[in-house]
Amino acid sequence: MYFHFQNKQITGMLTIVPQHRVRFEDEMDNYAFSRAQSVQLQKVMGYNERHICRRTDACISDLICHGFERLFSEGLLTPGEVDALILLTNSPDYLVPPNSNILQGRLGMKQDMLCLDINQGCAGFMVGLVQAMQLLEQPEIRKVAIVTADVASRTHSPRDRASYPLMGDAAAITIFENRPSDPIHVFMKMDGREALSIWQPAGGLKEPASEQTIQMREETPGNFMTRHHIRMQGDAVFNFVMREVPGMLVDLFAHYGVSYNHVEAFICHQPNKFILNCVAKKLGIDSERIPANIVETFGNSISSTIPCCITHNFGQRPEKEEVPLCLAGFGEGLIWSSTILRLGLLDFCRMIEMDI
């Protein structure tokens, strides 16, 4: 389905990443890959460098509050301006109550607002975008903060060599407001039949924490994890992306009636470099058109890869001029979603680091 919006814009974007960096080269020995495999993984998949929290007790709220406090102290946002705070994450501080309410209280935001937690991962930014634009139809809602955040280094097992060396931690605060814009169409589809392709089995009531769930087990050859770690069925997810994502983008551009040259870049969720290169190949576009440098520089931060990609690759340029972009999120759910919009004249478009 398509969501249609008019006169809605992203007016601010701040990404928060931990200062601490880890290089695949330095931890290669943890994973028992052969030398040749390691080189291949580095080149083809993008196993390289990532930013993760050094502190083992680091939470998304630490990254998020650091970001909001920076915006408040620099006069780019005031706590009272936020009419809705929507948090999209796979790694909440608490299961109860909503973490967005905890943030509201901690950040001194007003009572006259909507706080909402949404359990979302890879497509979290796109789901948040749709939520924000829908809420802006309400006359009393002028500013929506979409907060995407994940501490993936804690939700994935350090001994899961298929995913851990690619994961990074990050949070992003994206502000949406009513401002004149071209019509925006957002493609959104979901398929719950394959929902358990990306999955954390234990921790909910279906499989509560027990002596058994916290044991490290070899789930697939060479990959050890507890039932509380998020695991992915890589082949099923890869097939899903190849089956749905290129076709979605063809449909989206046809819907807008524009060619691929209309956009400056395709800002996609970045699970690994290989998958993005395959999407580019299938679309018949140069792989440079889909930046894949976030996964190899910061790691896959799940819900924040799109804001990470924008703030890292475009810097403060969107504060000064308009940049036409295609945005696409896909994964967990399974969900695939995309849109084309002009990102421009933002009040802020930055990435900051946090010592955590």
Binding site: V44, F238, N239, M242, F274, K281
Partner: protein
């Protein structure tokens, strides 16, 4: 029908095997060159060259290169 020797040559390229040719009856999972990355590259190549996607569950049942070729043919 697909050309089996062409398919084997494509698999050889995916697996980066240069010093010998593959035979249809070889069990690909037993090769030292087979890895999770080789698996993804195989799926990508099949999608690219034959416009076919073999589901993860179906792929798990395949043993030899001839099995893969058959699975591709059945889906074209």
């Amino acid at each position: 029908m697909m050309n089996q020797s062409r398919f084997l040559a494509q698999m050889q390229e995916v697996l980066e095997i240069e010093d010998r040719t593959l035979s249809p009856d070889e069990e690909f999972r037993e090769l030292p060159e087979w890895s999770s990355l080789a698996y993804l590259s195989t799926i990508a190549m099949i999608d690219d060259e034959y416009d076919v996607i073999i589901s993860a569950a179906d792929f798990r049942k395949l043993q030899t290169f001839a099995d893969i070729a058959r699975a591709i043919n059945e889906r074209r």
